[in-house]
Symmetry: C2
Subunit: 338 residues, 2 copies
């Protein structure tokens, strides 16, 4: 590397100002006079000075970035978690690099790539299908999981998924429902499996019969909720209430059965999970379980920053409480047919 | 900079393998034997080698990243545009760094920061409130706007917002509505202003009376749609149809009036804009105007990559067509009260 690295002194000299003025201009351009600003920015361009960037980061062996790995950028579920992460990372001067694990053929390979590429000082994982084995890389940066993770004791921010499922079943049982079904998330997804386990456990604890044919598989999307609705409409013996592993599925289901003339909650009670924004704006408003997603992002970012600062790859795990949100989509069961 | 930069040769020597094996292991870990993989990754950690990262990017004066500036990460509207951007940037080996312009006190300052920080080879702007003046920085990287931009001829991917508004008004007029109102996006937002202008132009072209009190201001969110619904419910002289500048507002409005006993479309017709996922899952499904958001992201990324490759800061602009999506939320007006 023979190329001389441009310093802030070079910029100041070229612009004919002090280094303090260069710093101030770059930190807050609006506070300096227009002519000064233009002189400094022209000097930055001419000298090839790179502010807070690769050159200075390389010197201190830091990238100034945190990578967040998502299963699917297009899923709006993650938007609030990302906002929570950014609300901590931005003031701490970290750029947030978001990457999609499912856009290539092998999600674990994507994880390995980002763990070894040196592009980030730390990673946040939001994909519950990655293999814990992929983290077994010596010298990797710290990692926090902002979702559950099977069988490993790694730093994470978890949500009481099982307890949320039990809240939903308990509410429906107290309303008088005995025929309660469940629409799950995708098989292999740890959130889906924890909610299903919570559903089964609560049904058993309350002493309600489990009908396996009333457990329908979805994939968290509205479309899969609509597909479950088509299946429910064709059943001869229908459950009078359904607990959904996501609000998106509950919304897709409710819209389809309403368009088919079913009244919610008079004919069918529905409870979702997540408390996404649309939940309170539907008619009826969804009864659901709130996950504080912004808070999940905030805590995951704080946990990661403390690991980056102390240079450790271990850290505490945190469990975040869920909350029952009453809506209008769950009511007493319809009178039994004679 | 006295520190010696670690090379791939150093890693190969430490691991006792060839440099080709080091490259292969880092590019695709699953194709090499487990013992080889562990030896290479241990050597990477011990030597401090940074793959594809700051060191190598600095040598070729590239960051390997594209920065996307959004007004609000938590708004799910952007998720599909981001997915479209990622679908082009990921195979082209660019990391996508997403940053929020509205999280700090001065959005233009955020833009200036990213234009001068040297962290990206190019930027995509999705925030229609940034000042064109903030782009007047000598030597800045190429920028593409994936929304309209007032008064400047800069490379952009635009949507026919005005034409979409005219499609909505035309459809309602053909159904027999004469009393048509509009719920706008936030003042100062270029998309909101173009749709409002399209609404006014279409009403005038068709010869329908414009009632200024039937133009309600929203901010694109579901909550602002619900607020407009509360205003509509208190009007003595109500429009029989409303065109909304976003589906989110239309959904928030429809849910609230339905919970108040209003039937859509028998009592009130509603047309949205965007064709977000929930639109087709509501009851009734929303009649709306489709913006192909994934495609907008794809074209913006392709345009930016060609500018990065050719080293230019100018480029063509592209206008993307909108499409009318019939739903169940617009029908003939109710019989006139006598």
């Amino acid at each position: 590397m023979d190329r001389k690295v441009t310093t802030i002194q070079d910029v100041a000299r070229a612009a004919g100002v002090s280094t303090a003025t260069v710093s101030r201009t770059l930190a807050k351009p609006s506070v300096v006079a227009k002519t000064t600003r233009e002189a400094v920015l022209t000097a930055v361009a001419e000298t090839g000075y790179r502010v807070n960037a690769t050159a200075s980061n390389l010197r201190r062996q830091r990238t100034g970035s945190v990578i967040v790995l998502l299963p699917n950028i297009a899923n709006p579920f993650f938007a609030q978690i990302l906002a929570g992460l950014a609300s901590v990372l931005t003031p701490a001067q970290y750029g947030m690099l978001i990457a999609d694990t499912q856009s290539g053929p092998d999600p674990d390979e994507r994880l390995t790539h980002y763990l070894t590429s040196g592009q980030a000082d730390g990673l946040v994982l939001l994909d519950g299908t990655l293999s814990p084995e992929a983290l077994e890389i010596p010298g990797r940066p710290p990692v926090v999981m902002a979702c559950e993770w099977m069988g490993r004791d790694l730093p994470s921010v978890r949500v009481e998924n099982g307890r949320g499922a039990a809240m939903a079943v308990g509410h429906l049982a107290r309303l008088g429902h005995r025929a309660i079904g469940h629409v799950t998330g995708p098989q292999g997804n740890v959130l889906a499996e924890t909610r299903l386990k919570g559903f089964r456990g609560a049904m058993e604890a309350i002493g309600l019969p489990l009908h396996e044919e009333w457990i329908l598989e979805g994939d968290f999307t509205m479309d899969s909720g609509a597909a479950a609705a088509r299946a429910w409409l064709t059943m001869e013996d229908r459950p009078t209430a359904l607990f959904f592993a996501s609000d998106e599925m509950a919304a897709g289901f409710m819209g389809l059965v309403q368009r088919a003339g079913i009244r919610v909650p008079q004919d069918l009670s529905i409870v979702g999970f997540d408390n996404i924004e649309i939940a309170q704006h539907l008619s009826p408003a969804l009864t659901t379980i709130r996950q504080p997603r912004t808070h999940i992002g905030v805590r995951a970012a704080e946990l990661l920053l403390s690991m980056i600062e102390t240079g450790t790859r271990t850290g505490p795990s945190e469990v975040i409480e869920v909350e029952f949100i009453p809506g209008g989509s769950a009511g007493p069961p319809p009178p039994a047919r004679s």
